[in-house]
């Protein structure tokens, strides 16, 4: 023990191994790193930078990439309407009068067999079944009254006579003395039924239509038409017509139409749907093109049937909850929130640094000039500072924001304008600090010495005075960074700062203006708010630590 003590006392007081001389900068650094809060702040800022700049590079998504998702949506597939108007199947080259729809209804109600249309043409309607007619073009048969009378007697009170050599129509009352008499030529059928051929390239002949209608009305099993022999399987309101054992045509009192543009409804499909409708079911199944059974739903609305089915539909993935694919979820535009947080962080942090740089640059020059030259220069600059202090900043930013809205400034232009305006309005505080510091430094001995050695004014200001102001500047800048980020976030929150598609933390929280988002999608606004809080807090911790480190007087 004694030996050790002796050895220590032998060392000189300024022995290098005994006293570690630290430069002033090192002293500051040492004091700074002993401050736990400052270290926490440094770590947070480092993490934020890594998150925003490195994370932004690593994340596979971009800030404005929109994501889509597929959901099962019930979509209208087909519509079926009960036919309540006459449908006409025309022969080749036939046109019917324009008012035939109303005249046909009239004739059906009154039981007329000759239809007088407005343009003077006369049509004969032969009733083959309930609301089923065959229409004929009429040519008047001229003849002596005796002949006509004879015809009439032959008719035995009927208005329509089917004979071997054609079909004949009487007009007027049966007991009229001289009836008008016509010979008919078949031109169309009128019925409240629809014909659907099984293959799309078959066109149905008029003869087929009229024979089919007759057969259906009479409840027969087969009929002959131009095309050959057909068999009919009739149900109450529909019938399936086969030729040579193959399905040929489908007859029904429902009108089907596809709602999608590239949907072709096969007769089998219609038949199935019709059965379901007749049985009053609300859903049915039918195999699709690949043979998979698909479920269809039927909705009835005043005789209008809508057939719906679930379809895979591509929609924007809005407010998707956090998942493996989107770690923080997606926002209202279906963009990945994590990517937006990263890119938003870039903008928020960069704006902070750019604005503080502008503030310090202008503030240092103005404050330095004012403090060094004094007199009227000082007075003038300080009054400018006062004026800038008096301008209310938040309302001003809001006005500028609405001006930029009006001129539809792009999101990049907005960022630049915001930086410049915030910088130009923020330098006043720094100028005051610099001026105050320089005023007191100017009177100190080292400045008198500098003046005595004949150093130029420029060098005196920027080599001797300014470096002594730097500590205050650094403290102010680190705290100012936090303030700027907060101001930018507030503006973006109000929707006046950074705008879509660019992101900033403030503009991400903007979503809470919709209270539904606020209550239901916490993951949208909580992370961005926490990031702002943490970043600003970290800058304040660092600033606080720096102040303590630079100003050891405050330590006891």
């Amino acid at each position: 023990m004694a030996d050790v003590n002796n050895k220590q006392t032998e060392k000189k007081l300024d022995d290098v191994t005994r006293v570690r001389v630290l430069s002033p900068g090192m002293m500051v650094a040492k004091r700074f790193f002993r401050n736990k809060l400052a270290i926490v702040g440094l770590v947070i800022i480092a993490c934020m930078f890594l998150f925003s700049f490195v994370g932004g590079m690593l994340i596979p998504y971009s800030q404005s990439q929109v994501f889509y998702t597929t959901t099962e949506m019930r979509k209208d597939y087909a519509g079926a309407t009960l036919i309540d108007q006459f449908q006409f199947q025309l022969g080749e080259g036939v046109t019917l009068p324009k008012d035939i729809y109303s005249k046909m209804i009239l004739a059906d109600m009154q039981g007329d067999s000759v239809i007088n249309s407005k343009d003077g043409t006369k049509l004969g309607a032969e009733k083959v079944g309930d609301k089923m007619y065959v229409l004929y073009a009429l040519t008047e048969i001229k003849g002596t009254p005796q002949l006509l009378k004879a015809y009439k007697d032959l008719a035995e009170g009927e208005n329509v006579i089917s004979a071997e050599d054609g079909i004949f129509f009487f007009e007027g009352k049966a007991d009229a003395p001289i009836p008008t008499f016509f010979e008919g030529e078949r031109i169309a059928t009128a019925s409240q039924m629809s014909f659907t051929p099984y293959s799309a390239d078959v066109s149905l002949s008029l003869d087929f239509c009229q024979m089919a209608l007759r057969c259906f009305a009479d409840g027969m099993n087969s009929f002959w038409a131009e095309e050959g022999e057909f068999t009919m399987e009739a149900e109450e309101d529909s019938a399936l017509i086969q030729k040579d054992g193959e399905d040929f045509c489908f007859l029904s009192n429902m009108n089907f139409n596809a709602i999608g543009s590239n949907v072709y409804l096969t007769p089998e499909y219609k038949l199935t749907a019709l059965e379901a409708i007749e049985e009053g079911r609300t859903s049915f199944e039918f195999p699709d093109a690949e043979g998979n059974l698909t479920e269809y739903e039927i909705e009835n609305k005043n005789g209008q049937y809508t057939i719906k089915r679930f379809e895979e539909t591509k929609v924007i993935a809005t407010y998707e909850a956090p998942s493996g694919k989107h770690l923080v979820g997606t926002d209202a535009n279906g963009m990945d929130l994590l990517a937006r947080l990263m890119y938003g962080g870039r903008i928020s942090l960069s704006i902070g640094f750019v604005v503080v740089f502008i503030e310090v640059f202008i503030g240092m020059i103005m404050g330095g000039v004012a403090g060094y030259f004094g007199k009227w220069v000082d007075n003038l600059i300080m009054r400018i500072v006062d004026v800038i202090y008096c301008i209310p900043s938040i309302p001003l930013y809001m006005i500028l924001g609405s001006i930029m809205d009006y001129y539809k400034a792009s999101s990049t232009v907005r960022i630049y304008v915001l930086c410049i305006v915030m910088g130009v309005l923020g330098w006043a505080g720094i100028a005051r600090i610099v001026r105050g510091q320089i005023l007191s430094l100017r009177e100190q001995e080292f400045m008198i010495a500098a003046e005595a050695t004949g150093i130029s004014t420029y060098r005196r200001i920027f080599k001797h005075l300014i470096p002594n102001v730097v500590p205050q500047l650094i403290v102010f800048a680190s705290m100012g960074l936090g303030e700027v980020i907060l101001a930018e976030a507030t503006l973006s929150f109000l929707g006046l700062g950074i705008k879509y598609p660019a992101a900033s933390w403030g503009s991400i929280i903007n979503a809470v203006n919709d209270s539904f988002v606020m209550t239901n999608y916490l993951f949208v606004w909580i992370p961005a708010g926490l990031f702002i809080l943490l970043t600003v807090l970290a800058f304040n911790f660092i600033g606080d630590g720096l102040r303590d480190a630079f100003d050891p007087k405050m330590k006891r």
């Binding site: 301008i391 001129y407 507030t490 403030g506």
Partner: protein, 328 residues
Amino acid sequence: MKKFILKRLLISVVLLFFVSLIIYAIMRCMPMSYVETQAMALATRPGAKSYEEWVKQLNAQYGLDVGVIQGYFIWASKAVRMQFGDSWYWNQPVLTKFQNVIWYSFFLGLVTFIIEIIIAIPAGISAARKQYSLTDYSVTVIALLGISLPSFFFATILKYVFSVKLGWFDLYGIVGRMHESMTPMQQLGDIIWHMVLPVVTISVVSIGGLMRYTRTNMLEVLNSDYIRTARAKGVSERKVVNHHAFRNTLIPIVTLLGGSLPGLFSGAMITETLFQIPGIGYTSDVSIMQGDIPFVMFYMVFLAVLTLLGNLIADILYAVVDPRVRVS
């Protein structure tokens, strides 16, 4: 002293002239959406003049057809006679609207101010008394948290917890749904109840500054020579802190508080807008969005006057409170 005040007053008037000129110039850049909308509405009336004619007439009516400088002097000559014109959006004189809404803001500001003083000053002093203790660290962290907390974020969290989850408060507004059917006392209570969340928001966000200011000044005082002398004389620690140190700390604090008195009228734009408290801040926010130039112009100049007034009060108070300044 009189000369000093007079000089400061004169400088303030000059400053106000330039500030209002700048504000007016910026206001004139504002999109004239209000005039255009009005003209559009007027032009659609039966037998009305064309849209262009209406725009012209309205611009002339509102003094928007002359240059910025000329327009400013027209505005200023009226403003010094306290004629701020009619608000476009609110359809009443600017001053009437101002008188209707200012008291909400003042009440909000006053309550916050008192809460701030009650909490921040004792907290700052106790932090300074034991520097680097747990108290000091927690006060520093709380103060910095408050400073760093974005008011809109904090307000949203409060709304989420207390309005949405617990259902204690309404999300927006100054009065409840049943306000009309209440007795006057209940109505007052209703309004106060609706003020709770805004007051909490503003208090928490703004309390940090005063806390830190108190702590820094108290530390400075506690490190000064006369405190060391008092301790050396054997004065009890309680007396040192409460009498010698505290009174001296009061000098900068009173100056600061006095300077912020006019600020009680300035309204909290963000918080009022978030909670839709119909104070001056919320009214101005709506006015800015609607391009209501007379009202916004008035509000901006009003804020500038408040700032100048605050500086003036702080300067005077500084001289009044601290005898050393008066002597020099």
